[in-house]
Subunit: 686 residues, 2 copies
């Protein structure tokens, strides 16, 4: 799925720093389609013309405005994230959706006494217009600066703007403060969330499901080893922090090898942690911890490797109490909220963009790498089954977007260690695929046809790893332009995947290699080029990726590579693979100068029907053939082991080597199965 950062990043300010291409801010394409779509709503007629999918938000807004009056604020900002800066949120945190009707995963709402406006990026413009009533205006810009300027225009000097300090990162809070600086409008932190107050008893309750221990087979190391590693980073830090405060849900899940299901598609649970040089506090609903989890956390109590479980909502008080001492608290500013930040005195803060847990988690150790690769082999089997099934059933007219999505979800769920999808499956036919993040429903679902392109973007949560793959296919006769666009997207995917680059290169510096082939003919795409991915954690795992707020690429990181092309009203193309950053073998670089490259671990062939081989260079063809040989070697035996003979034949057919202009002598006809058992070992161990 196209990369998107934590919510708050979608509205970072900056001129040069277009940080989040996936959110439409767009590298080199800033005005892509701002004028291309026109609002399908018509709010000038009486009654207004509105699609049936909108939510009437009048009652919610009235109630909120009453509260605003009580707190003496003229505007209230409602972000789409939760108190952990999560990209995906639980329903009880879907405040923006409740107040606006808009259910997209990125956006910011602002309610004033008279107006209500929503800022979101190009992925979501159409969706927002289909979901919001005429109370809401859509703002097609994503900068904090633009929200700030709108506020300056709407709110008279001397008045107040309210925010929930627990829903804004420090950086985002500061960028609002900067825009309003000197304008005589005051940002007022209000600890009672006003939307929650008006949502009242209708708001979904806190989850009660079990928080469980991830079996050792599926973890890279014990939680004690991880804690020791973080503590040694604290010791080595020049400021000698005495504690690390963890706010992101992935951080606690990864550090303690625990999982939960508080948020759909994301096996995490509401929690915070404070890890000091001598103690460990985990803030979580104790009653939800499984016996095994509790046992693991307390096995070494008392002592420095004893986890004290404290109540989730005690975190602020505990951090405040801890910060009274002679301490230094290390925080990651991208994931810590202004609300928590505020209780730590400035001179006791050690700040970095990401906590050491976040940056350590980003680099997978050998076992984590093997686990993630093994999950991708099973995932490839599911995808190959799906592509074959589509090939057989689409011509019969029996598949629509929704039934297709359900079928691929089912194929994954049948696989060993699978715990469901890693995000809501994107299954989009024809013009629907031009909306980069379209998901079908059972009430609106387009029939798949041999006359249209079809885009499938889906992934699984396996105990050993999270997957994410996009394939675009056409079963009939694509137009020359469709073939050219597809081939150029593929060229971008190949050019980035085979790039050799120095260690610690920033992803932002190399992502244009995925765009060059499109740029060459005046095309582009308006989203990011990739994102990190977890071991049974988030499908979008920060801070790895190709955007300016991602950390430099080093050996052991996994990232998706996913260029695309979207022709509005006609079709959409995306080709997405997950790749591991590995050391490259180069002619002149070795040792200290060792360079890196990518090893693609998604193992599903591309659609031959959409590739115009004449566009590819010899190097690109050679890369493709080598990749296909790897797919045969790694997925072929797995298909045979499962006796999926038809799928095996499909794989053989679809991984025939390419050669420009000539038919290929199928010298690779027989797969060398016997010598390849080793590639299946991680799977078998699991």
């Amino acid at each position: 799925m196209t990369g998107s950062g934590p919510q708050f990043m979608s509205v970072l300010s900056g001129s040069d720093s277009c940080v989040n291409a996936s959110h439409g801010c767009a590298i080199g394409w800033p005005k892509q389609s701002s004028s291309a779509t026109s609002d399908i709503r018509n709010c000038t007629t009486s009654p207004p013309f509105l699609p049936p999918t909108v939510t009437d938000t009048s009652a919610q807004l009235n109630a909120l405005r009453q509260r605003m009056q009580f707190y003496n604020i003229s505007a209230y900002i409602v972000p789409a994230t939760d108190a952990h800066m999560s990209e995906y949120i639980a329903e009880r945190d879907a405040r923006l959706a409740w107040i606006s009707g808009f259910t997209g995963s990125a956006g910011t709402g602002v309610v004033t006494t008279k107006k209500a406006a929503l800022w979101t990026d190009s992925r979501y413009w159409t969706q927002a217009e289909r979901q919001m009533d005429c109370n809401w205006e859509l703002q097609k810009i994503v900068w904090t600066d633009s929200i700030g300027e709108w506020l300056l225009q709407e709110i008279p000097a001397g008045e107040n703007i309210g925010l929930d300090p627990f829903l804004f990162s420090i950086d985002l809070w500061n960028s609002y403060a900067r825009v309003l600086q000197g304008s005589s409008r005051t940002l007022v932190p209000i600890e009672d969330n006003l939307v929650d107050l008006v949502w009242g008893s209708q708001r979904p309750p806190l989850p009660t499901s079990e928080i469980y221990l991830l079996p050792e087979t599926f973890t890279g190391s014990t939680w004690q080893e991880k804690v020791s590693g973080i503590r040694s980073q604290m010791e080595q830090h020049s400021r000698s922090p005495t504690a690390v405060l963890l706010s992101a849900l992935e951080e606690t899940a990864w550090l303690f090898n625990l999982r939960g299901d508080d948020i759909s598609y994301n096996p995490v649970f509401y929690s915070y942690a404070l890890l000091t040089t001598s103690d460990i506090s985990l803030f979580v609903d104790r009653n939800r911890l499984s016996a095994e989890a509790l046992q693991s956390l307390s096995a070494q109590c008392p002592g420095p490797l004893c986890v004290q479980v404290e109540e989730y909502d005690q975190v602020r008080a505990s951090v405040q109490a801890y910060a009274q001492g002679d301490v230094q608290v290390w925080i990651g500013t991208e994931y810590t909220t202004y609300g928590l930040y505020g209780v730590i005195p400035q001179d006791k803060l050690v700040e970095s963009s990401y906590s050491p847990v976040m940056t350590t988690k980003a680099v997978k150790n050998a076992k984590e790498q093997a686990l993630l690769k093994a999950a991708h082999v099973r995932d490839a089997v599911a995808m190959i089954q799906y592509l074959l099934w589509l090939e057989k059933n689409v011509p019969k007219g029996s598949v629509d977007e929704f039934s297709g999505a359900r079928y691929v979800d089912k194929l994954r769920r049948e696989k060993e260690h699978c715990r469901g999808a890693s995000f809501e499956t994107i299954s989009a036919s024809g013009l629907n695929a031009a909306l980069a993040h379209y998901s079908p429903s059972n009430v609106s679902s387009r029939k798949l046809s041999v006359d249209e392109m079809y885009l499938s973007d889906s992934g699984g949560q396996y105990l050993d790893g999270t997957t994410d793959i996009t394939r675009t296919v056409h079963w009939g006769e694509p137009s020359p332009f469709q073939k050219e666009a597809y081939t150029r997207v593929l060229m971008g995917n190949i050019d980035l995947a085979r790039l050799v680059f120095p260690s610690e290169t920033s992803g932002r510096v190399v992502e244009a290699f995925a765009r060059r082939a499109l740029w060459e003919v005046g095309l582009n795409y308006g989203h990011g080029t990739g994102h990190g991915i977890g071991n049974f954690l988030s499908v979008h795992e920060w801070p790895v990726g190709f955007q300016s707020n991602n950390v430099p690429l080093v050996k052991g990181m996994f990232t998706s590579i996913e260029p695309g092309y979207y022709q509005e009203g006609e079709f959409g193309i995306r080709i997405e693979d997950v790749a591991l950053v590995v050391e490259a073998q180069t002619k002149h670089g070795a040792g200290e100068k060792a360079h890196l490259t990518f090893e693609v671990v998604s193992l599903v062939p591309y659609d031959r029907n959409l590739i115009d081989i004449s566009f590819l260079s010899e190097d690109q063809i050679q890369y493709l053939n080598t990749y296909y040989e790897t797919i045969r070697q790694r997925v072929g035996p797995e298909l045979q082991r499962r006796q999926l003979e038809e799928e095996y034949e499909w794989l053989r057919r679809n991984t025939q080597p390419f050669s420009r202009g000539t038919l290929v002598a199928t010298s690779l006809g027989t797969l060398a199965i016997t010598s390849l058992v080793s590639t299946l070992l991680p799977d078998r161990q699991a």
Copy 2:
């Protein structure tokens, strides 16, 4: 010359944001040669072993430390810039050189009661070791953070660190403040510059030379038109600034079409300007203005287009007085010093990275483009004369680095409108070229030889434009590795120059195309890939370029493209051209989606002896042949007009089309001169 930003940028903080590759911070190559060189000084022996080129700084340091004691500070930070954040400085501003002996153009010195340390980037490490005595230690890192951490280590808590607030930009001041935050060390602004106090009467005086009006032939528009343009940007700004404060010397020179010679190679003069909606103040030594300049500035007095000339050192008081009113002052934070910033109340500041004058100057209008191109035709003639002269004289053994540099300088000076070199000519043979910015002197100059590679990086100041070009040549038999490295540098130059990209793409996002061919085999270079350039102004004109603090690329900008490769102790390669950003003709992109590309305006062929054609793709060869045809068309007639027949033949020989593996049928034998008179017109008009 390899791109470098204003001084202060060399030490910007940040983890992901390696902002200044040219300063060794290096995109993806952060540890390039930190361990590769060993200090040629030996300070452990008694007496220490020191090269004869060092300066004894004991007396200066003693005097400075006495002053530090008086001001109660434990450390004093000495930057290499002046009060205008200039990259090149006048001798009276060379405080760092005077106190340390180090004359490089980028660096920061810190003097404590016991130690003295200099931070500079990899370009200057060897030079620093050759110039500094044992009082000084060299720090091979360029981050503010590293200076801050060193200070935390050296300076006990509770003590003070002094700085001259007029020598630090706001951003740099803030990044020091951030590092020291909460550490109980205080940053103390001291308005008396302590180095100046101890330098005393030995410090070079203020310049007295004339400040003159640039004739209208050489300006893009009148200063009144420029002022009106800036004022309309003020009106359109959401904060409605009432004034723009200009601190960079290029800003006043460009805005008022004035030039001076206060700084070698840079036709600028000490000045500030405050441009309000109704008034214009130019802070400059009035006595130095030519009669014509004074007449131009006051022609429309009184009125909104009347320039009031105020004394240079009145700027702070005047800005402070202006800021008492109901005003909003727009400043560019990258070029405004903390000293000036401090007199404007926070709520009256409108901040952007660069002032509107800086960003407007960056985009050349049609006339400025034609002027700059015309200067490059004359510059190409000088370079071709030089390359031919080298070809004839190097085999005789009669040329050394210094005499070569003098000769190319002379060839330029003879050209129409030339006012000298645009920077100190880099002329480096063999291993000297591995120091990216080596300049020879008459006491140490290596003889040029047919057995070594030679790198020439030079440029001219012409009244119509500033030029900058690097060519690397070999007159004998280069090694296969030398040929491969040269060819890969050329491939990088070509790949970036022919890249098609969307408008407003950040240079940082595309600069890796200049590195890919080197990366592929494990090679790289440790400096930036290019920089903007002026019309008879700075050779490094910010904010255009390929670094993260550069502004996005738009039509009408000029930038250098200059990949390189440096094999320490052996040879150095750099290939540099200046290119104009132009609209690209693409297959599918037009109108709103129009893409951009580069038009190379440097017109000198590359060394055929160093090109291994087998590495080049067909596309690269085709690009090269088209470029060579352009050189023939634009420079050929100019050579003939000047009756430089031998040079014309050399050009013909050296621009023969390439073709892989076959000898070329010289179908392009005769230049189509008659149809090309138009390309010479700008030159003739001048």
